[in-house]
């Protein structure tokens, strides 16, 4: 099988981000390629096909685990480091040179370089929170790239980090806990263990928490255990959702809850737990959903397949956009000619 076909068949997109101008969508995969889609192309009317994507390879050794957009930078969470790439809106190009880099400090007893699995941006204070593969959450100042502090407590790697405006930080991890942190305290202020709730536990799938989301009053999380809502102050489980797969993605969208993961549908529920929309997807597993409401209302769901799924009203699938095979200038690439050269066969005497 040719390298090109291999990438198309096994493209795994973990990260997406929308530019500050709301005009461009970035998608990064585990082959180290960042695709850029002009959002305007999706609004052209149905007759003409949307224009091709641009691709900015970061090198095959770079896993793009998470993307965040800040001012005119695309911030990439890779393995062992976070780096910024300048986005030039006029020319629609990402700088090939990294504008800055923040190395993730290795723990003394660590054997592996930690991944940057999840990032949350406090754009007012220019602070970036990064949930890492060694269970540590780092608070990085984007002004000077300094690591301001570490939040320690998780015993396994962090899947998801989010914050709110009140200075609270929420993290879900492979160890099965959701921890609530305050910027003012060293230890976590509260901890949830959904797998200990028999209503939530799905024994064969483990206790890990794959995704966390918060709004003013509620906390939403899921993973191996079922997706469920907790009240922020009382930390009581108030609602359980019937999403049938492992949860890798959940969020509050408008007044609803969007849940996705290792399942052939992404589902949208009301806060009361009623299924509102059941969106079929081609991904083996969904890992990322980004959306905006203006100037063009759209949501893009990405995962383990070569396609972005675009929803314009957040309830019905609108279109699917190919990634590899739909890139500008791809046709001109010369065909690789990699032949297996083996030693001559020696015949053993009978």
């Amino acid at each position: 099988m040719k390298q090109k076909d291999l990438k198309r068949a096994y493209n795994n997109v973990l990260a997406q981000a929308i530019s500050a101008s709301h005009q461009y969508l970035f998608a990064g995969n585990l082959f180290g390629d960042i695709f850029v889609l002009r959002i305007k192309e999706l609004d052209k009317g149905s007759e003409e096909p949307p224009g091709k994507l641009k691709i900015f390879p970061q090198g095959s050794d770079v896993d793009i685990n998470y993307l965040v957009f800040h001012r005119d930078f695309l911030i990439v969470g890779a393995v062992g480091l976070i780096y910024g790439l300048k986005w030039n809106e006029e020319e629609e190009t990402l700088d090939t040179k990294r504008s800055w880099e923040v190395k993730i400090p290795m723990q003394v007893d660590a054997v592996e370089v930690p991944d940057v699995n999840s990032m949350w941006l406090d754009s007012e204070n220019s602070i970036l929170l990064a949930g890492c593969g060694d269970g540590v959450i780092l608070q990085v100042s984007l002004e000077d790239g300094r690591i301001q502090r570490e939040y320690r407590g998780h015993t396994d790697y962090v899947h998801s980090v989010v914050g709110n405006t009140k200075g609270q930080i929420f993290s879900g991890a492979e160890d099965g806990t959701v921890r609530v942190w305050s910027t003012k305290q060293q230890e976590h202020t509260a901890m949830l263990e959904p797998y200990k709730n028999p209503n939530l536990l799905r024994p064969d799938w483990g206790k890990w928490i794959g995704a966390v989301a918060v709004n003013e009053d509620w906390l939403l999380c899921g993973g191996g255990p079922k997706a469920s809502i907790f009240h922020l102050r009382s930390l009581e489980c108030t609602r359980v959702f019937d999403f049938p797969g492992r949860v890798h993605l959940c969020d509050f969208v408008d007044d609803c809850v969007l849940i996705g993961g290792e399942h052939n549908h992404v589902q949208s529920y009301t806060l009361n737990g009623e299924l509102q929309a059941n969106i079929p997807v081609e991904h083996t597993a969904c890992y990322s959903a980004v959306w905006q409401t203006s100037p063009i209302k759209l949501m893009s769901i990405a995962g383990f397949s070569n396609k972005l799924h675009i929803l314009k009203d957040f309830r019905f699938l609108d279109s699917k956009i190919d990634l590899y095979g739909n890139v500008q200038g791809e046709e001109n690439e010369p065909e690789e000619d990699d032949e297996l050269i083996e030693e001559p066969l020696t015949i053993e005497a009978a």
Binding site: M1, K2, Q3, K4, D5, L6, R8, A9, Y10, N12, L14, L30, D63, N65, V111, E112, D115, N117, S118, G133, D156, Y157, H159, S160, E174, P203, D204, W205, G206, W208, G210, G224, H248, E262, N264, E282, T284, A285, Y287, F304, S305, N306, G325, E335, D337, D338, E339, L340, I341, E342, E343, P344, L345, I347, A349, A350
Partner: protein
């Protein structure tokens, strides 16, 4: 004047009458008479004056007369001129310019060839335009004439040059001959028998021209190379070739070889009924054997067909007696078909052959079908290039190979390399099918602690069975390109878990690697469609590229081992979460899961004596 005269006459009359009266009265008249006489003086004066005036008038009259005469003369002149001009006009009207008989450039050509001049004559009248054009064309013609003469002279020079060179070469001949005869003793001493060798290949000269070229190139390569990687020989009888040549000459005595079109055209007009006769191959063909004697050899039979002006190749395996291998000849066909991409040999690659065949009521497809049915093989482009035949491939790319030596060597090396790859592959398949290999001791088995899973079955399946598997991979292959596939099914078992592997081996192997599709049956059916861990596993197996292999590794075995390790790791990592633990962690990995995708440590890393599996 008249009044003056009249008054004078009146006065005179009065005077005379006065005198008369005085006379009659008798008075003295003297006084009156003198007065009257004085009056005569005045009269005389007046008379003179009158005379002057008359003379004046005459002079004037004469002058005017002269003027009138002059203008009359001028008028006459003008009239003459008018008549002359009229005559001229008639003549002009009757005039015929030579330029009408000249063949001029067309309007478009003119403006294209002389664009700078064509531009600025918009406002000119048509006649002037015409003149302008003539002018320009004259210039153009003069230039062309200059060029023509220059070319003529250079041609002359070249001819002269050729002549002188030819003379020089001719003068070499006797010198060479003497040199040859002089070296004869040396030949004898070295026991080099040049004459004998040429005699041996006497049959060669009856080969058709392209095959002759090929044979000579092969011979020379064979002589140069040290190891005998291939041999070439001419198959057929000299007498038959001679016979055919004679027959041909007898049949068409008037046609010589310089008119092949008419020859083929007429020769085969009748030939529709007997395609066989028309497409008779030359009685001599080349038999090219690749592979060392004593081992498995690939025998290529290369024939030439006059009608379609190209060579064809048919291959078969010649298994050596001492190898225990079973004949599996399918791959020879694949090997030749995919030697070069887009060269499947399904059409005749000779420029303009369609047209020529039409004149003898044949189609190219018919010919190719016939060749296939008769086991004459296929007219691949690479074969034509070995015979120095110009080709046009399916994407209309013209190619005429001139560096025959290097090219032919490359092709033969390539065939030998592919042959080796295929033989190894079929050996691996055989080994897997009949289980006459020891998986645990194989070199590719990188993991020293051994495998927990075992391969229990390896069978060939049909294409349909393979395609009943639903997978993204099957939808993403880029284009068909005439590739066919052989499919196999392997079953790997560990405890209560079973994995089915569907393997597809492309006919253009080793350009493309075998493709694996994995299904795990354990607590339900897991495929790449519903389980990302299986999809990653499948990717890890399929991403094995030739460059990752170590020398002497077997691709299929290496892929199998990757799959087995991955399956082990899948079960061990998945098992760690189960209530009833069936599979314990046996493989050395640091973390069972990493990243948001919870990817598993399929990758094998070895540093010195420390090894581990990693994400």
């Amino acid at each position: 004047m008249e009044t003056i005269l009249n008054t004078q006459f009146d006065e005179l009359q009065k005077a005379i009458e006065g005198i008369k009266e005085a006379k009659s009265k008798g008075q003295s008249t003297d006084e009156a008479r003198t007065a009257a006489t004085l009056m005569f003086v005045a009269l005389k004066h007046a008379n003179r004056e009158v005379k002057h005036k008359i003379k004046d008038g005459r002079d004037k009259l004469h002058l005017e007369k002269c003027k009138v005469d002059l203008s009359r003369l001028q008028l006459q002149n003008l009239l003459y001129e008018v008549s002359h001009l009229k005559k001229e006009i008639v003549r002009c009207q009757k005039f015929k310019s030579r330029d009408t008989s000249l063949e001029l450039l067309s309007e478009a050509e003119y403006s294209s060839k002389l664009p700078d001049m064509a531009n600025d004559e918009e406002e000119l009248s048509s006649h002037k335009q015409h003149l302008h054009r003539l002018d320009c064309e004259l210039r153009l013609r003069k230039e062309l004439d200059k060029q023509y003469s220059a070319l003529l002279s250079s041609k002359q020079e070249l001819l002269q040059d050729n002549l002188s060179h030819a003379q020089r070469y001719v003068s070499f001949a006797p010198a060479l001959r003497t040199l040859q005869s002089a070296t004869k003793p040396l030949h004898d001493a070295l026991q080099l028998s040049l004459d004998v060798e040429w005699k041996l290949s006497a049959v060669v000269k009856y080969l058709p021209k392209p095959l002759y070229v090929l044979f000579i190139v092969l011979q020379s390569l064979q002589r140069v190379s040290e190891e005998q990687s291939f041999t070439a020989e001419v198959v057929g009888y000299e007498s038959e070739a001679q016979m055919q040549q004679l027959l041909k000459e007898k049949k068409y005595p008037t046609l010589n070889h310089r008119q092949p079109e008419t020859e083929t055209g007429e020769q085969y007009k009748i030939g529709k009924s007997s395609l066989e006769e028309a497409l008779a191959s030359h009685p001599l063909h080349i038999c090219l054997t690749i592979g060392a004697a004593g081992s498995n050899q690939l025998v290529l039979q290369i024939r030439y067909f006059d009608l379609i002006k190209c060579a064809t190749v048919w291959g078969q395996m010649n298994y050596s007696s001492n190898s225990n291998s079973q004949p599996d000849t399918n791959f020879v066909h694949h090997l030749l078909r995919h030697l070069y991409p887009n060269d499947l040999g399904t059409e005749i690659p000779i420029p303009g052959i369609q047209h020529e065949l039409r004149s003898s009521d044949l189609t190219a497809e018919e010919c190719v079908r016939y060749l296939k049915a008769k086991d004459f093989g296929k007219p691949f482009c690479w074969l034509q290039s070995m015979c120095s035949i110009a080709t046009v491939n399916s994407s209309m790319l013209y190619n005429h190979e001139l560096n025959l030596n290097k090219h032919t060597k490359e092709i033969i090396d390539r065939i030998a390399r592919r042959l080796n790859s295929w033989q190894r592959l079929s050996q691996q398949i055989r080994g897997l099918t009949y289980k006459d290999i020891d998986l645990y001791s194989l070199k590719e088995n990188i993991y020293p602690a051994g495998l927990s899973c075992s391969l229990v079955q390896w069978t060939a399946i049909t294409h349909e069975e393979f395609h009943s598997q639903i997978s993204d991979v099957l939808n993403t292959s880029s284009g068909d390109k005439g590739i066919t596939y052989n499919s196999y099914r392997a079953v790997i078992v560990r405890g209560s878990a079973k994995m089915e592997c569907f393997i597809r081996i492309p006919s253009n192997y080793p350009m493309e690697m075998p493709l694996w599709i994995l299904n795990v049956h354990w607590n339900g059916c897991h495929t790449s469609q519903n389980n990302s861990a299986i999809k990653m596993m499948e990717f890890w197996t399929n991403s094995l590229q030739p460059k990752h292999l170590e020398p002497n590794d077997h691709i299929l075995y290496a892929q199998l081992f990757r799959t087995i390790y991955s399956f082990d790791i899948f079960l061990e990592t998945e098992g760690s979460m189960q209530n009833t633990i069936e599979y314990n962690k046996e493989k050395p990995y640091i973390s069972a899961f990493a990243k948001r995708s919870r990817s598993r440590p399929y990758k094998y890393i070895k540093k010195g004596s420390v090894y581990a599996f990693k994400q």
